[in-house]
């Protein structure tokens, strides 16, 4: 394993998992995909490792997301350990929030969502531009729109739930 790649692994792995998690919504699956992306980087030795990793990871997530999310959700439910009542409440609450954010994210256009997730995973505007094919100057505009839509969609989702509950 090249030394610099090991270093990139330490610094980038959590970000890559974070990025992948918002695509597959399963942390173990996200870690698997992130590891697989690094393993491929060992073989392919790309020039710009970080950017390459996110490209490869995004592709793998796209191929994988539907099937994996279905299987893993099932297993996560079955294998999750019993917890005390307050912990359960907290977990349920966190899960509900996560699910609202997920719903909101799904209302963005694929490009807006991709740019937002890449930024949140720690990529620079330059890296995002290279990866998405956007002009560098368009990254800020895209991010501005993506953030606004995310916040609006989340708020709309909350409103709908309140109405539904009466």
């Amino acid at each position: 394993m090249p030394e610099d790649l090991a270093e990139i692994y330490r610094s980038t792995f959590p970000a890559l998992v974070r990025f992948l998690y918002r695509k597959v919504w399963d942390v173990e699956r996200a870690e698997d995909l992130a590891q697989e992306a690094f393993a491929r980087a060992v073989v392919h030795k790309p020039e710009s490792v970080r950017g390459w990793l996110f490209v490869v990871a995004a592709n793998m997530a796209r191929d994988d997301a539907r099937r994996a999310a279905r299987e893993r959700r099932h297993l996560t439910l079955l294998t999750s350990e019993p917890a005390s009542a307050p912990a359960v409440d907290e977990a349920v609450h966190a899960e509900a929030e996560r699910s609202r954010v997920r719903t909101a994210l799904e209302q963005l256009t694929p490009r807006d969502r991709e740019v937002l997730l890449l930024w949140d995973a720690g990529l620079s505007y330059d890296e995002i531009a290279t990866q998405t094919g956007l002009a560098r100057g368009a990254v800020g505009t895209t991010l501005a729109r993506a953030r606004r839509r995310l916040v609006e969609a989340f708020a709309a989702g909350e409103r709908d739930e309140h109405i539904a509950r009466g």
Binding site: Y9, R22, V27, L75, A138, G140, T141, F154
Partner: protein
């Protein structure tokens, strides 16, 4: 810039620290003289913070960074690997069923341990239909991430040398004439064994991790030691072993599929089941998910290795 207002994209780039220096200066100059844009700057700052909060709500739980993956394929375990307990438990039940059948059948003349056609049919067919499995030896090389896909050349080679070393230990004192064949050869390529002796070697090698050295003995000897036909799963090749001539415990090893071995420890009926002391050290050394021990009558049964899904039906067919 000082005349035209700044757009949201520039404000976000500025707040993200991604606006080139020259542009940032121009923007700051404009903000200095434009309260409207200063107001928008604060709005966008709040928006960015809010979006960040929402994304944080949907962040994965914090976990330790796993070890660096060694090579592609290692990092994507087959789904059952995530769920180690259930499948082997279901398996244990099935093996019990098969054993029960063998238990009642053992008054009949024994099926000779060296029946090459049968041997080739059962476990190796299974290996062929489940090409994504690897033998346990290679698993230890990719510990964090159980193997998927094909057996990779390096792991293959390393595991082979380990297996060879183990086998060398095993065959000292026993009659296994063909040192070229290792279990991994068979697991990876799923070829029928060229000779019965080679197949026996394949069965013998997985026992090597046992802390105690077991020597292979003729089936007749095992029968004499126990006074009855040793228990076994019918129609699967079996190898009988013992630790010493003094100790009257017979170990019968049967390979269900590549990497999956069933071990039966048996004592003469009068002496009860071999206790936990038998192979206890080995049990501690192996992850419980990979080895299960159960008692049936005066038998101690261990199952080791991954259990391919379709081997279940194979085994049931054998029992029928």
């Amino acid at each position: 810039m000082s005349i035209s207002h700044v757009d949201d994209g520039q404000l976000h780039a500025y707040l993200d620290g991604e606006l080139p220096q020259a542009e940032a200066w121009r923007l700051e100059a404009h903000l200095g003289e434009c309260p409207a844009c200063r107001g928008r700057l604060e709005e966008q700052r709040a928006l960015i913070a809010r979006a960040g909060e929402l994304l944080a709500l949907a962040a994965p739980p914090a976990r330790d960074v796993p070890p660096f993956p060694s090579r592609p394929g290692d990092a994507q375990p087959p789904p059952p690997a995530r769920w180690p307990a259930r499948l082997p438990l279901a398996w244990a039940a099935t093996v019990m069923l098969a054993l029960a059948a063998g238990w009642y059948l053992r008054g009949e003349p024994p099926i000779a341990p060296a029946a090459p056609d049968r041997r080739a049919a059962a476990p190796h067919d299974t290996a062929r239909t489940v090409p994504t499995r690897q033998a346990p030896e290679s698993k230890t090389l990719a510990q964090q991430a159980p193997p998927a896909g094909r057996a990779l050349p390096e792991a293959d080679e390393a595991a082979r040398s380990v297996a060879a070393a183990q086998r060398d230990q095993m065959i000292s004192g026993s009659a296994v004439p063909n040192p070229q064949i290792t279990p991994l050869d068979q697991a990876a390529r799923a070829k029928p064994p060229p000779t019965p002796a080679a197949a026996l070697a394949a069965l013998a090698a997985p026992a090597a991790p046992l802390a105690v050295r077991w020597e292979t003995i003729p089936w007749d000897t095992a029968r004499v030691m126990l006074g009855v036909e040793p228990a076994r799963i019918p129609n699967l090749p079996a190898v009988a072993k013992r630790r010493s001539a003094a100790e009257r415990v017979v170990l019968v090893e049967q390979q269900l599929a590549s990497g999956t071995v069933v071990r039966l420890h048996e004592r003469p009926a009068a002496e009860g089941a071999p206790g936990m002391e038998v192979g206890a050290a080995a049990v501690q050394r192996v992850d419980v998910s990979e080895r299960l021990a159960r008692y049936v009558g005066n038998l101690r049964v261990e199952i080791e290795g991954a259990l391919p899904a379709d081997s279940l039906s194979k085994l049931l067919e054998l029992v029928k």
